[in-house]
Point group: D2
Chain length 135, copies 4
């Protein structure tokens, strides 16, 4: 059994395109909102990561499959699961659901890098400890 | 005393720009999310407006003063007040606050128009009745 | 006779919303692209402003009237005119046209501020000299 | 030897995030602008596809690797190559370059679907003929 974090998101006009559905690039924003709230839930602040450890998380790859469209006013359920936690990177499985319908499924890989030169850095231990509980 | 609707919004990375603050164009999105939730609170659905009355609301003008920047992870309080309700248009005063600091203040005018030819139409009476309670 | 700078912009799917037209907040982006290209045309780089003078331009107010919608694949003509150049701020009149049809007309006020504390600063003289030729 | 279409894109403030670089989701927009211009170059209009054939192209999956950041004022070179053309879908290899530096590399799969029910449809023959020349 995998631990899954959930976050609700409402679809506004800004999210739609001329096809009347959510513009596909915007799912990356939705996924990130959910990851950010998962971090907040773990009491991991992105700004304290930078201030205390001199590191920052950056997205190094994304892959998304689009299954069904979301529309204006839909309330979406975004899920976050940790697929893998490495020394300097974490891979997430993230999905967008409307009720029991899977709309989009993605894998997002984030890397921990030095704030200044963007070189890979080990994830700070106290953070890794929190993340491990989700693997 | 004016009735004021409030809606909370969190600032995510997608909202920021290279200056480290919320990109100014995004306040128009924040204002719209708050107006949309105000409409939802009034039980006025944008899609039923289109389906039942053949009308849609469009933004006809905006004016925003920027006072102070919002930053990543800020929780903003968005306010919606109705300044004026005309036969075919409504003017809103909308503000973004962080705690007691006013960040941005805007006036947004929306017009009620025919779904097909975009010509001004009277706001449907049952909707006008609800809006009047906010003037 | 006023000097007017022009910049062409194509409408892509990302710019549209579920109404099939350009989402109104995006005109602020279009206006900014045109102002940025006007600055580039004047050989004023935003990054050298920050590096050489410790100042940066920020948008302090916007006001836009929307006249007619733009649609997917439209080629728009964005105009930039300087309405007023003050010691620490510049006011622009900016418009979006499709052929001879005015779609949106806006006033954008930008302020010159200190990079660190965001307090108003005088516009650097060599830049002011270039701007004055446009008033 | 593969045929490659190229399209230049300038990075504006709207494209950046608080990290001072292009926000990663925006590469999907850049890729789409390039694909749209490739279609235009082939004289394939998205609106005529809908009008004449009742079909529309939708993005069904994306996968992007981020290699190096793009910054404000950068001029990027976007490339479009057709990896595979199936009966009802096309797979693109798309990249973003700054000079000789590869910034992002992606695979985008678009499906040809019925305008009304979004079911897969064969790509119209005259369009397929044009696309095949790029495989």
């Amino acid at each position: 059994m995998k631990r899954v974090f959930e976050w609700a998101i409402r679809v506004y006009i800004e999210d739609t395109d001329f096809g009347g559905v959510v513009y596909y690039a915007n799912y990356l924003k939705f996924f990130e909102r959910a990851r950010t709230e998962w971090l907040r839930d773990l009491s991991i602040g992105q700004q304290s990561l930078a201030g205390d450890h001199g590191v920052v998380f950056i997205v190094t790859s994304v892959a998304v499959d689009y299954r069904a469209p979301a529309r204006l006013d839909d309330e979406l359920r975004l899920t976050v699961a940790v697929e893998r936690a490495g020394r300097a990177s974490v891979e997430f499985l993230q999905q967008a659901w409307r009720g029991e319908t899977l709309l989009a499924s993605g894998r997002v890989r984030v890397g921990c890098v030095d704030l200044d030169d963007l070189r890979p850095q080990a994830i700070p231990p106290e953070m890794m400890e929190k993340i491990r509980k989700w693997v």
